[in-house]
């Protein structure tokens, strides 16, 4: 199939950037979306032109590196699929495809389709952990976890930190990402000792990074390639409210 691509090109963080049109020719339906972009890049480089820069690594939907908005939807049209897992059989000959980076104030563009998502790492550093040193922990079986809790924790732990939730939200909110980590640990006994402080610290960092607030649009859940549930946001809001109301000692988390 032959396709027309409209791709965001931006030379660096200070460049204004613009959409540039490319032709993708002889694309096999078996190709993945990123392999299609590789094909376009190969042709560009053969003409000694700069290839389109985009983040990617595992190409199997687990590392969270790939981050493209395709035809207005983060990770493209397929539900619960990262853009690296999308295959070209979902498109047809003659289609036009718009390709943009994640758009959010807290994710500045570095170049072309590559954005800076280090805000996510800083949020995790603020409280997305249990404060435990290596060694000196009890036997794994000393902590019993009811199976439903373990399954729920796993559902939330499946977050790959890609940022599609932020990219899909009109407010540029990171609530689903933060809620995923908070909810994972909230469902586990190991997460209980620091549960309140975790909510306060992670939300504080999230706000500091410049993400927007949540107005219950649920675009995040729809765009999430791992199908993280907005129920996590409800849990996080409860934890945050409870933490604010309860007196918490002046101990920094960690």
């Amino acid at each position: 199939m032959n396709l027309t691509l409209y791709v965001w090109r931006q030379k660096n963080a200070h460049d204004k950037g613009k959409m540039v049109t490319y032709k993708a020719q002889d694309i096999s339906p078996e190709m993945s979306f990123l392999e299609m972009l590789d094909t376009v890049n190969e042709k560009l480089m053969q003409n000694h032109e700069e290839p389109i820069a985009f983040d990617h690594d595992c190409r199997e939907g687990i590392c969270g590196a790939c981050s493209l908005v395709v035809n207005g939807v983060p990770h493209g049209p397929e539900k619960a699929t990262t853009i690296c897992q999308l295959h070209m059989r979902k498109f047809k000959d003659g289609d036009a495809i718009w390709i943009e980076p994640w758009r959010a104030k807290a994710f500045p563009v570095i170049k072309d389709l590559v954005t800076d998502r280090s805000a996510f790492d800083r949020i995790i550093a603020a409280g997305g952990f249990t404060s435990v040193r290596t060694g000196g922990v009890p036997d794994a079986h000393a902590i019993l976890i009811p199976r439903p809790d373990a399954e729920k924790a796993m559902d939330f732990a499946a977050c790959i930190g890609c940022g599609a939730c932020v990219a899909s939200c009109k407010n540029g909110s990171a609530m689903l990402f933060v809620a995923a980590k908070i909810s994972q640990l909230a469902h586990l006994p190991q997460g209980q000792p620091e549960r309140k402080q975790r909510a306060l610290s992670m939300v504080a960092q999230m706000d500091k990074e410049g993400f927007g607030g949540c107005t219950n649009l649920y675009e995040c859940e729809a765009a999430c390639p791992k199908q993280i549930s907005v129920a996590g946001i409800a849990l996080m809001n409860r934890d945050y409210l409870c933490a604010n109301l309860t007196v918490v000692e002046e101990n920094s988390i960690g």
């Binding site: 392999e35 480089m45 790492d121 603020a126 435990v132 794994a140 976890i145």
Partner: protein, 637 residues
């Protein structure tokens, strides 16, 4: 160069405990005077950086990805082994040790492997404490499953994304230290060379992948946790950016590289669908718990799989290896798959595929149970192939997956360059010639959480090196070398893209240094590789500038290193005139097609010393002495 494995004396089961007492310690108040560089933030690097920072050392951690959580450890699916024996089915530390040594075809260092089995239980405890959401049974206890090469259920898992969850545990511990200010994290920063002063590793040179800035970093010790080199074959299950650059630079500076020819081809990956393909996707070995592998009995049987009755099917692993059946170790399963496809009985559009069939399990256990166990893997398969594994058998084929070879390290995980420690897949130590499933995760975390935090203190206390800063002339010298090489890469304005050349290298390696190797083929590879390398430096295209994000330049540097490293790999394969584990030389096999080891002449670690690009490296042998295990033919029948 002398190889001193520094294996402690005493009985096998006491060596590590004895060593921990004998090793020198650094006083808690003095630890903050020592700095460590950690390159790579996967399971081994992340856990090491976190643990060392907790102890009080100053840590600078580096990764080329945009976040430490993106390391390729994240993609491991099936599980992590430990000798807990929770299922009460006969496991023990000794059995895990034995299965690993046997699985490695008796080519691993006994003492290291025993220690690995010993700390395996501590790893599970640590991960649970971090909140890693392992699968649980109804009583609230951890669930276990079986993996290849074992007759006990010793694998702990978190659905089909155990690697992701373990890495996130280590990443959380790392980020806690970053938040506390004890680790400085440098993401999007790639190590391009090692700095050695007075024979000790004292720092690295990096390139900032956003600004292009070349920078020096000094420390009292350097740790490489930079993963494996499967991408030499271009197509592998590795992430696209995985590379051998850090370990190869260390090799060029004097860190012996061991057993590069021990490479693992995983039996269950999604088959190649076309020339455009950029990687091969792994289907977890855990699927082999419930899937049955088969091909048609008759050559050229093109019926749809569901139309072929039982009598027409050859469940060849069950037939050839009755005791292990579909859970035979990876090297054996991969070669068997290749065998049946070479006979013309392969399935799928290319004829290079075998079936992994869940029909019988779905009927026996119900679809819901299969969905719970493998749901996300089945979805992944369907996305890529557009086929539904609940209705038709999966098609799979072997693919490059893991590299047992790596930088040579002693019992303290230190290379032949004092101060340079290497952890995880990047080192050679624990898996011998073949790695068992669910043990890579175990080794990465063992090295990072429970070995290096002890052994690095001993290095500091005994090495007594003076402090250096990046003002030392050696840093400037190596920086200049890196800058010159970068300029040289950027000056390449030929006619072939780097990916195109990389693809050709991959084809040469798959053809002549893949699952079945022979002398003529390896010699052919050794004549083609230098020519391809020349072609690269004359005719490659590298567009763009250095002082910016430049994906073409990044890739070019990695492929340039592959084009040198591949030669070392083939050379090692050629010199090892036996078959063992993942290294199969067709000239050395039993009549039934099994690997034929030559313990009399080859029971050693081949540690290679660099003598110049294109020159034959010098072989140093570390004899493998087995005090506890009796060498035997490795049979899974």
């Amino acid at each position: 160069m002398t190889l001193d494995s520094k294996i402690p004396s005493g009985s096998l089961t006491e060596k590590w405990d004895k060593h921990r007492f004998d090793m020198k310690l650094i006083n808690p108040a003095n630890k903050r005077k020592y700095s460590v560089i950690v390159v790579g933030t996967g399971l081994a690097g992340g856990s090491a950086a976190a643990s060392l920072a907790e102890l009080g050392y100053q840590v600078d951690a580096f990764c080329y990805n945009d976040s430490p959580r993106r390391a390729h450890s994240i993609a491991a699916q099936g599980g992590i082994n430990a000798a807990k024996n929770y299922p009460n089915d006969g496991d023990s530390i000794y059995r895990l040790f034995y299965d690993t040594i046997k699985g490695g075809d008796f080519r691993a260092r006994e003492a290291n492997v025993y220690r690995l089995a010993q700390v395996s239980n501590n790893i599970i405890d640590q991960c649970v404490a971090q909140g890693v959401p392992f699968a649980r049974e109804y009583g609230g206890y951890l669930d276990n499953r079986s993996f290849g090469g074992a007759q006990v259920s010793r694998t702990f898992y978190a659905r089909g994304q155990t690697g992701q969850q373990l890495l996130l545990g280590a990443y959380s511990a790392l980020m806690r230290q970053v938040g506390l200010g004890t680790v400085k994290m440098h993401a999007r920063t790639e190590m391009l060379d090692l700095v050695v002063i007075d024979g000790h590793a004292r720092g690295i040179i990096t390139r900032d992948l956003v600004t292009g800035k070349i920078q020096s970093w000094a420390a009292d010790a350097v740790i490489l946790a930079t993963g494996g080199y499967s991408n030499v074959w271009y197509l592998s299950t590795n992430a696209i950016a995985c590379n051998v650059t850090a370990a190869y630079r260390a090799y060029k500076k004097g860190a012996a590289f061991a057993n590069p020819c021990y490479t693992q081809i995983h039996p269950t990956c999604i088959p190649l669908s076309g020339d455009h393909q950029s990687k091969l996707t792994l289907m977890s070995e855990s699927l082999r718990n419930d899937g049955r592998i088969w091909v048609p009995k008759k050559k050229g049987d093109t019926r749809l799989p569901n139309e072929i009755p039982e009598e027409g099917r050859d469940y060849y692993l069950e037939r050839k290896y009755p005791s292990f059946g579909n859970l035979s170790p990876r090297d054996i399963s991969s070669r068997s798959a290749k065998e049946v496809c070479d006979e013309g009985r392969g399935v799928g559009p290319t004829g290079f595929g075998v079936y992994l069939d869940f029909a019988e399990s779905i009927q026996r256990l119900g679809k819901k149970v299969i969905e719970e166990r493998y749901g996300n893997l089945f979805e992944m398969y369907e996305r890529i192939t557009d086929e539904n594994p609940y209705k038709v058998p999966m098609r799979i084929y072997p693919a490059l997956h893991y590299t047992m070879g790596g930088t040579w390290v002693d019992y303290n995980l230190m290379s032949t360059i004092p101060g340079l420690h290497v952890l995880g897949e990047a080192n050679f130590s624990d898996h011998g010639a073949n790695r068992l499933g669910a043990s890579a995760l175990m080794q990465g975390l063992a090295d990072g959480y429970f070995v290096i935090p002890y052994t690095i203190g001993n290095y500091f206390a005994t090495a007594k090196q003076p402090k250096v800063t990046t003002d030392h002339p050696e840093f400037k010298k190596v920086e200049t070398e890196v800058i010159d090489r970068t300029k040289k890469l950027l000056s390449l304005k030929g006619k072939r893209t780097v990916a195109n050349i990389h693809k050709e290298l991959g084809k040469v390696m798959w053809e002549f240094c893949g699952m079945a190797r022979n002398e003529a083929g390896l010699k052919k590879a050794l004549s083609i590789i230098p020519e391809l390398r020349d072609e690269f430096w004359k005719n490659a295209i590298v567009v763009g500038q250095g002082e910016e994000l430049n994906i073409a330049l990044e890739r070019a540097g990695r492929v340039a290193d592959f084009l040198e490293f591949a030669e070392l790999l083939c050379f090692d394969a050629l010199h090892r005139n036996e078959s063992c584990g993942g290294h199969f030389r067709v000239e050395h096999q039993y009549p039934d097609g099994e690997a034929k080891r030559d313990d009399e002449n080859y029971a050693y670690v081949a540690a290679w010393e660099f003598t110049g690009v294109g020159n034959e490296p010098v072989l140093h042998k570390e004899p493998l002495v087995f005090e506890s295990i009796h060498l035997q033919t490795r049979s899974y029948k």
